[in-house]
């Protein structure tokens, strides 16, 4: 079976159907047994002809990153597609409209920008769309039809996928889409002479027996929360986390839960803390600006020892920043945000799959350790679509992790009892004899406010020690490559880890002695494993999407090696190629 690893980008302006055609393509290719990783970028304005790009990597091997270079670019809008040409491979292919409605100067049509080595296929997108549907709106489907014909995708099967996508719409919509697709398919079959070697045709993987779910990070988080026994979700709309609220709002009430769209993020985390205090599982999801607003109450969860799960999908910052661009620059605030010495658990999934597992783990840990658990996603992870093996919901014993006080303990109940592991058995309101005061003031074991010289040190230590237990319950850091005498060790976190992993695998193929480590738990920090890894490596590289190297700064005190940093703030996901280039530089 030949290797297939093709990146397709559909580029148009808002309203061209760019994103929906990308979605159809990804879903269909997934159903054909391919691995996919898709990612859409769009402007933060709803209208105004902003640039939309549906990016999809389709492969019959495991996909770890979105891929930096495009193999096939479909231009639904000339100006936007021209500005996207910089990502096209030197031998890439452009599909464009060769019969535009108006005469275009040479530099206005993408055809005028094709470099030697690239291949272009002109398709009369608009004419065929008008012929098939009587409007210009089917151009995206004409393009998909042409794509299928040229690159060996089964046209009949794809037609049924399009039918399924629009099944709930009226017949006119279904027919226009199907007919436009068919028109493009037939036209390309008859008129296009294929001069490239890209094809999906001979490499169709065996359809996997495993049931696949095609979801993005936000959907994985929402599904995991519901599977984990979520009772209350409170949130305020903010890109890129809003989708989590929308999904939860549809699913949660069916299970007897409550979704509250609050007046602001402060109220959202307030509701979550209230529900957690009352013994129910609750969550909020936000992004940087909302996360800042939540800082004070997030600290209350730490001090008063109340479970709270907080998802922060990072975007470019500071302030309003870049709402629809990717960055990993909220690590500092996630680890250290708020006043005082404030220990919390921080998990950062590295893949869509881990978005699910980290969320179920977060609920378990928050309840058991009675504290704040932050899940750090980012714009890319929230929106990147993967076809993953359908996740396994948490087992019954993970659905209630609260440590309740014994009857004897309730005789003189100490809400904040100093115990060996730091966990004080927690009486849920309604428990007779468990009446007590929970407070954000420093407090005695009974919960009474105390500011003396002994209480604060003891309680601070308790709060720090308590969460250490989470380390043994979280997945161990992942180590790929040799265990000793490594030249370069790459340590990555969050969505960057996939690209770093791929870069390391490719670098090893090139003969570079390199290894890879990533960790999903960032607080408490898995010092032991990270230390061991760094000691096996001569040099350490940390790639991440922020200016100052926030993760490298966290690592630095624990390592005896100096750290080479690769920091990018372009707003785009870091690519395996970028990291590979850096590894090659270091290896020279």
């Amino acid at each position: 079976m030949a290797d297939v690893d093709i990146v397709i980008e559909i580029c148009g302006s808002a309203g061209d159907g760019t994103i929906s055609s990308g979605e159809i393509l990804s879903r269909f290719m997934s159903s054909q047994g391919f691995e996919i990783m898709s990612f859409d970028s769009y402007p933060s304005e709803i209208r105004g002809f902003g640039k939309c790009v549906a990016h999809s990597r389709i492969s019959n091997k495991k996909v770890l990153s979105p891929g930096k270079y495009t193999d096939i670019l479909i231009a639904l809008n000339n100006a936007h597609a021209i500005s996207q040409l910089h990502t096209l491979r030197e031998t890439g292919i452009v599909i464009f409209d060769n019969k535009p409605p108006n005469y275009l100067e040479e530099d206005q049509s993408i055809a005028g920008w094709i470099e030697p080595g690239m291949i272009s296929y002109g398709i009369p997108l608009l004419n065929l769309s008008q012929k098939a549907s009587g409007s210009a709106r089917g151009r995206n489907m004409v393009a998909l039809g042409a794509l299928a014909a040229i690159f060996g995708i089964d046209g009949e099967q794809m037609k049924s996928a399009i039918h399924a996508r629009y099944a709930k719409k009226n017949k006119v919509v279904i027919d226009s889409n199907i007919n436009s697709f068919a028109e493009g398919f037939t036209w390309a079959q008859q008129h296009v002479t294929k001069v490239d070697s890209y094809t999906f045709g001979h490499s169709k993987p065996k359809p996997s027996k495993e049931k696949k779910a095609i979801i993005n990070g936000n959907q994985a988080v929402a599904q995991a929360a519901i599977d984990s026994g979520l009772h209350l979700y409170a949130g305020y709309p903010i890109t890129p986390a809003t989708k989590i609220m929308e999904i939860v709002s549809r699913e949660l009430p069916k299970k007897g839960g409550v979704m509250v769209q609050t007046e602001d993020e402060i109220s959202a985390i307030g509701h979550v803390i209230g529900a957690g205090y009352a013994g129910k599982r609750a969550m909020t999801a936000t992004s940087g600006p909302g996360f800042c607003l939540m800082s004070e109450l997030a600290n209350l969860a730490v001090m008063a020892e109340v479970p709270a799960v907080l998802v922060n999908s990072q975007r470019g910052g500071p302030s309003t920043g870049l709402p629809t661009r990717n960055e990993q620059s909220d690590l500092n605030i996630a680890l250290f945000g708020g006043s005082g010495d404030s220990p919390r658990i921080v998990l950062a999934p590295t893949s869509v799959n881990e978005c699910y597992t980290c969320t179920t783990l977060a609920f378990y840990l928050a309840e058991k350790y009675q504290t704040l658990v932050i899940i750090l996603l980012d714009f890319f992870l929230s929106n990147s679509i993967r076809n993953i093996t359908t996740p396994v919901p948490p087992k019954a014993n993970q659905l209630n992790s609260n440590v309740a006080p014994t009857k004897t303990a309730l005789k003189d109940y100490k809400r904040y009892k100093l115990t060996k592991n730091g966990i004080s058995p927690r009486a849920i309101p309604g428990t007779p004899g468990g009446m007590c005061i929970s407070t954000g003031l420093e407090h005695s074991e009974h919960g009474h406010p105390r500011y003396d010289r002994n209480t604060h040190p003891a309680m601070t230590e308790k709060r720090f020690n308590k969460i250490q237990g989470a380390l043994s319950e979280a997945p161990k850091p992942r180590w790929v490559g040799p265990k000793k005498n490594v030249d370069i060790g790459v340590i990555a976190w969050g969505s960057t880890a996939g690209s770093a992993h791929e870069a390391v695998l490719n670098a090893r193929k090139e003969g570079i002695n390199v290894a890879f480590m990533s960790t999903v738990i960032l607080s408490p920090f898995p010092v032991k494993e990270i230390k061991k890894f760094s000691e096996a490596c001569s040099r350490i590289l940390v790639p991440e999407l922020n200016y100052t190297g926030q993760f490298a700064n966290v690592l630095s005190p624990h390592l005896s090696r100096s750290i080479e940093r690769l920091n990018m703030v372009t707003g785009l996901p870091i690519s395996a190629e970028d990291i590979l280039e850096k590894i090659r530089d270091m290896a020279r």
Binding site: V258, V260, G270, G274, P429, G430, M435
Partner: protein, 280 residues
């Protein structure tokens, strides 16, 4: 060492025990100034809980920061002393999770109308079934006498020595305008009046707003004092129609110490009832 375990406390507890109200009091002695109106309010809340035979473990009291914020510490129920201004969202989160609990939010004028003012209209419009006790002494007491959102115009405070330049808010009018389904005002010097209102507020299905006027004996010696308030209380006449929003608003706009229930809508469903009916 627990410095509060002294004979003074024992005497206090003994005296309370004789009255038969020990149940809801803790070993923690209130830290309010002698003569503070909050003692009277506490007394009325405790007595009302007794009258309603509420199980201690099924009562949750949530407070913010300030002199009123300390309130849950002195009550033997499930108390949650949170951060400044956020008692309403947290109390709502509790009630929306455990409907069987009786949930009180306690907030001062700064807590409910200043820093937390943004939460008031929204908790009200959702009609979450909780009771807000707004302890309004028209001053920031715990930080020692600064202007609050209800400090009278031109009153000298430690943050406005030449007099408060900010027009004070009118809590009852606000609650009505926001659409609260239960709106009342009480006076901290009138325990029987408070008990009557508290009982109806707690049993009301939906959000109950109780504005409680009280002096701060330490930081306001001139305007809102026992001396000037006692004897000026005007209980709402029985002829007042509690179901009429217009009459309630007219009454609320009268700048006198009018007490009692201004408005109650018994038909409006609470938030959980609406959620169950429309969302699932």
């Amino acid at each position: 060492m627990d410095i509060l375990k002294n004979s003074y406390l024992d005497e206090e507890l003994e005296a309370v025990k004789k009255q038969g109200f020990l149940d809801y009091r803790t070993s923690q002695l209130p830290t309010w100034c002698p003569g503070c109106g909050y003692f009277g309010i506490t007394h009325a809340i405790v007595q009302t809980c007794n009258d309603l035979q509420l199980k201690k473990e099924e009562v949750c009291v949530v407070s913010g920061i300030g002199c009123a914020g300390r309130y849950p510490i002195f009550m033997d129920v499930y108390g949650f002393h949170t951060v400044h201004g956020r008692s309403l969202p947290i109390a709502a989160g509790i009630k929306l999770s455990r409907e069987e609990l009786t949930v009180f939010a306690v907030a001062g004028d700064g807590d409910a109308l200043g820093i937390g003012g943004g939460h008031l209209p929204h908790t009200i419009r959702r009609n979450v079934d909780i009771t807000l006790f707004l302890f309004d002494n028209s001053i920031y007491g715990l930080t020692k006498g600064q202007t609050s959102p209800t400090t009278p115009l031109n009153q000298a405070t430690n943050s406005h020595l030449k007099g408060n330049p900010d027009t004070p808010l009118k809590p009852v009018s606000l609650a009505l305008a926001y659409g609260a389904s239960f709106v009342a005002r009480c006076y901290a010097g009138d325990v029987d009046g408070m008990k009557d209102v508290f009982r109806q507020a707690i049993t009301h299905k939906g959000f109950s707003f109780i504005h409680i006027v009280t002096p701060c004996v330490t930081f306001d010696k001139t305007n809102i004092t026992w001396g000037r308030l006692n004897g000026t209380v005007e209980p709402i006449e029985p002829v007042h129609d509690q179901t009429s929003f217009e009459s309630a608003l007219r009454l609320a706009e009268i700048p006198r110490l009018i007490t009692g229930i201004f408005y109650q809508d018994k038909k409006r469903p609470s938030y959980m009832e609406i959620i169950r009916e429309t969302q699932s």
